[in-house]
């Protein structure tokens, strides 16, 4: 009993003296404290975006399945759900680890160590950005997703696709399965169905027996429903919820912008560290520590972007 009382009293004394002047608040430097509060406010911005994603996803009757949307990787890899984004996540985690090492070397006032580990961090960040650039290029250029168009749709009823001349094909699907609406006369990002026969088909705009070509050249395939109350009806593939494209590009874009500005600041601070500026300050390379906080935050945000966009 007596010991715990003394501890409480000791703490009280300490916290009173913390605010009695002559000492930085929370026993940390002003710069680091303000970096923490900046990150807090940034966390609210990201949380706002991600919660908006959640609300819009809840409000839509269907939503594109992420492991169908994100199943391509460079060098012609297809049907590899989430593999490419997992690699991107590893890049960010690894660059976070090298950043911790840079901060540790900074505490030891080891200039060369700081520059070496920061360089690795920058490479990790640049690698992540390149991967994201490829992912966006693939989504925009090959799969024609945009802020207002989402060609990734979801079947709500089971059925069978029609062939080009309007007869039932062998290709069946169940409710909840996803599809991608392609453009006529273009590469399909490796989707295998129908590539061979497309050459002889008529893809002029309008209604065809087996599909409908809209004014932008998207080929909406027709299918016959075989399950549920609408069985026997012929329907046409429809675009998925518009909000998906807008949310994806805005949120991953905003995160990518954070990574990009992080890389720029890392570069500047690495050059300063290399020039010996922070050695002169003799404060354990505090600037490296501050940019380190920012860089870990970017990794932290990716944990949640990864969760809501790719995993759930």
């Amino acid at each position: 009993m007596a010991t715990s009382d003394t501890i409480v009293e000791h703490q009280k004394e300490q916290s009173a003296s913390d605010w009695s002047g002559g000492r930085p608040a929370f026993r940390t430097s002003y710069g680091k404290l303000m970096m923490w509060y900046f990150l807090l406010s940034d966390a609210f911005t990201f949380a706002g975006f991600l919660i908006a994603y959640g609300a819009l996803r809840f409000s839509s009757p269907t939503w594109p399945v992420p492991d169908f949307v994100f199943s391509t990787a460079p060098f012609g890899v297809h049907h590899a759900p989430l593999i490419f984004v997992t690699i991107m996540s590893f890049l960010l985690i690894a660059s976070s680890v090298t950043m911790v090492r840079a901060v540790q070397e900074g505490h030891l006032e080891n200039k060369n160590g700081v520059v070496f580990w920061m360089l690795l961090t920058i490479l990790g960040g640049a690698g992540f950005l390149s991967c994201q650039a490829w992912e966006w290029t693939n989504l925009i250029g090959t799969e024609h997703m945009s802020v207002t168009t989402n060609p990734f749709g979801t079947h709500t009823e089971g059925g069978v696709y029609l062939t080009a001349d309007g007869k039932e094909s062998e290709e069946t699907f169940k409710a909840g399965e996803s599809f991608l609406i392609h453009k006529a006369h273009e590469g399909h990002g490796g989707e295998e169905h129908g590539d061979g026969e497309h050459a002889e088909q008529d893809f002029s705009q309008g209604d065809h027996p087996g599909y409908l070509v809209d004014e932008r050249g998207f080929v909406h395939r027709k299918f016959k429903i075989t399950e549920g109350p609408n069985a026997g009806m012929v329907k046409t593939e429809e675009f998925g919820p518009k909000a998906f494209g807008a949310l994806f590009f805005f949120i991953t874009g905003f995160h990518g912008f954070h990574v990009f500005s992080g890389v720029i600041f890392l570069l500047i601070i690495m050059l300063n560290a290399g020039s010996g500026l922070y050695m002169k300050r003799q404060n354990g390379h505090e600037m490296v520590e501050k940019i380190g906080l920012y860089w870990h935050f970017v990794d932290l945000v990716w944990v949640f972007v990864f969760l809501v966009f790719y995993l759930l």
């Binding site: 409000s59 492991d67 985690i93 540790q104 990794d299 995993l311």
Partner: protein
Amino acid sequence: MSDLTYDEARKVVYRGLVLLAVVTLIEVFFSLLGKGHVISAFKGITWLHYTIGLLLISLSFYKAYFIIYEFMHMRYEVKGLAMSVLLPTVLLIWAIIAFFQEGNSWKSRREQIKEKNTEEVGQEPIQQESMLLKDTYILKLEDII
């Protein structure tokens, strides 16, 4: 700063690398398992989907905790600093509940919203029974004159 020696601190960092990588791999595995990529019979089982969702969310929060407390050195800061940064995020719990509820109710009223959007000024308002309470009586012009 931390009370760890240089070698100890270095070990913590590399253990963190392995830990985060392994947790990420587990997350991806379970995500694919829940969507029926690993065992195709698991496709479309709702309760499994939600259980795995909860698991993924908890694993992500564990990763976030690890990054903040180890990599960002929150463990070694004064308690007041940690609380002043972490406690405000509790407000987000309210935001999540409120906005998800809003999204859900939007989904169930989609048809009604569509109809309401087609209304024009000066037109007879579209009367929808579902919108009104049972004992509601709409006053018409004839009732007054």
